[in-house]
Amino acid sequence: MATAVATGLDMEQLFPVRRVLGPDGTPVQAEPDFPPDLLKDVYRWMVYLRVFDQRCLNLSRQGRMGTFAPFSGQEACQVGSAYWLRKGKDWIFPTYRDHGAMQVMGVPAKHILRYFMGDERGSCVPEGVNAFPISIPIATQLLHAVGVAWAAKIKGEDTVAVGYAGDGGTSPGDFHEALNFASVYNTATIFFIQNNRYAISTPNTRQFKAPTIVQRALAYDIPGVRVDGQDVLAVLTVMKEAIDRARSGGGPTLVEALTFRYGPHTTPDDPKKYRTQEEVEEWQNRDAIQRLRRYLMLKGLWTEAEDEDLQQWARDQVNAAVAEAEAEPRPSVDDIFGYVYAEPTPELVRQREYLKAYLARKGRKGVGIHA
């Protein structure tokens, strides 16, 4: 490879993939001493999120929801990246695919559902839940994660901020600016990159030439780590290290989690156009949920019966949330006009009242492009 010309470094060796469990659930190295209850709690989260995600994809296909971005296959990343964060203290800056991590941070399922149903109120998360609204413009949110950690540092607080992005999210300039700022100001920001090998249809090979994303840490003189994103114990381990370092003034970390999305990029996407069934199955054989289940059973911490109960519990949870979300009324005129500024401008008041009067004349049914 080209850097050989310059340095002869082997990046894959320099940044080995951190792994605790093999695909079959047997440990490949000494396990971290996580208590059984924690392991079970993590497992419950992953199972629940898989059920939630699959349900949303169906709702979207049925037209009961708008365009949806599923994360199935990335549950270990979703749970492992947010699990240690202190609720009400630390922050996350998610993409459209990180609504699993958002729930781990405390965002009610109903809010995620309303968001994808097309209601801004979904992003009005409860007080004390430090999950920033989903950022759709790629990589822009990484700078917000830098700003929050930077502000905390200025205020003398040890808040940690996790910025999420995908493999495609490493290409925009904001990725570079965020890592450079975090490096220069030594902010407690963790850049959690889920490399699921594709940006919609664009494979890693068209996104960057280097063998890894993590090697970019070298450019900014910050710690970088690669981790098996299908091994939640490994993700939990590297995140714990990164969070502890950030909290103790050690600054930012770049994490590259190797993972895969089983489903489409979003509802309208047809992945068959750009990837093979073999590749999908290969990854499904490394499934993070299976892996942890096998491990728990191996350890005698989990039974088939418990698993069936859990599946049922998860379905009930999701059903309840969907029922709640679907019971919500559509956003009102006051709702869409009410939050542009702290105080509406005179012109906004005029426009809002005009629209109300128009609707009164016609009735919402009678108006609008979807009427």
């Binding site: 097309g118 413009p137 300039g173 068209r206 401008t345 108006v367 979807h370």
Partner: protein, 326 residues
């Protein structure tokens, strides 16, 4: 004649342009194997290969900026921005370079390229996928801006834009991509940039609009004719810059009444310039204030609210009544 959707007409225009001129290259996110998220580039990768149908890394400033170098070197890049909201990262390349290279070098260099931008709302999409960005660029000298409202113009304007010696922003009304089919000649033709079309003739009032709202206006015009017997003249601007002042003013002088329809926020939208043009050239002919039917001064609502935001025939109808009964 074959009947095509607007997106098929765009696809056909790209294919014809690439067959005709080996310097034409198509680039952007997912335009290759995937054929673009809207399928605008379907089949091009297979016909012209990876050197001319280029899947770029996810970085708009990157591929728009690289396209500048390509254009200067003699290629004719046709860049696809995946959605309107995502031209923003390339804003600096557009306003500080693309619009200025000819002027900055006093004609020594030029930057002929087309930026295709799926635009406007009404497709129940996520945030940043339903934006009206024409106001960011209408005040930037050196750019041209076109907006087709039907498959025939979509093909002819795109081919004209690719031929044009200067950079063109080509705004595509997503909502019309598959809304209807129309006859489109199979061969190569262009629709001149800078000429408006009279979508409907009328003598009682003038409606100025572009893109999807040509159809909103036409529907309202039919209602006005049916309910009141008023004949509205609907002008499809097609080109925002250069703008066909003659056609606009001739119509307003004839009718003495005008309605402008866009879905951009009301304050300081491109429609404001249309009203200013009427002020400049036909004020004394006005029998009523020009009525604006636009979006509101709020961010484009998510899908459950977009019907509240977007102009519909009912709102245009009320504007028609207001200018007629003034």
């Amino acid at each position: 004649m074959p009947k095509l959707t607007l997106i098929q007409a765009i696809n056909e225009a790209l294919r014809l342009a690439m067959r005709r001129d080996p310097n034409v290259v198509v680039m952007g996110e997912d335009v290759g194997i995937n054929g673009g998220v809207f399928r605008a580039t379907e089949g091009l990768y297979q016909e012209f290969g990876p050197d001319r149908v280029i899947d770029t890394p996810l970085a708009e400033s990157g591929f728009v900026g690289a396209a500048v170098g390509m254009a200067v070197y003699g290629l004719r890049p046709v860049v696809e921005i995946q959605f309107d909201g995502f031209l923003a990262p390339a804003h600096e390349q557009v306003v500080s370079h693309i619009a200025r290279i000819r002027n900055r070098s006093r004609g020594r260099f030029s930057c002929p390229m087309v930026i295709r931008i799926p635009s406007f709302g009404g497709i129940r999409a996520l945030e940043h996928h339903s934006e009206s960005i024409e106001a960011w660029y209408a005040n930037v000298p050196g750019l041209k801006i076109v907006v087709p409202s039907n498959p025939y113009d979509a093909k002819g304007l795109l081919l004209a834009a690719i031929e044009d010696p200067d950079p063109v922003l080509y705004l595509e009304p997503k909502r019309l991509y598959r809304a209807f089919r129309a006859e489109v000649p199979a061969d190569y033709y262009t629709v001149p940039i800078g000429q408006a079309a009279i979508a409907r003739e009328g003598s009682d009032l003038t409606i100025l609009t572009y893109g999807v709202h040509v159809h909103t206006a036409l529907e309202a015009a039919e209602r006005a004719a049916a309910e009141y017997g008023w004949q509205a003249e609907v002008i499809d601007l097609r080109s925002l810059n250069p703008i066909d002042v003659e056609t606009i003013i001739a119509s307003v002088k004839k009718t003495g009444r005008a309605v402008v329809v866009t879905e951009a926020p009301r304050t300081a939208g491109f429609h404001s310039e249309l009203i200013a043009l009427i002020n400049d050239h036909a004020l004394e002919y006005l029998e009523a204030p020009v009525a604006r039917v636009t979006g509101f001064d709020i961010p484009m609502p998510y899908l459950l609210g977009e019907d509240l935001y977007l102009p519909d025939p009912g709102r245009v109808m009320e504007a028609i009544v207001s200018v007629r009964n003034y």
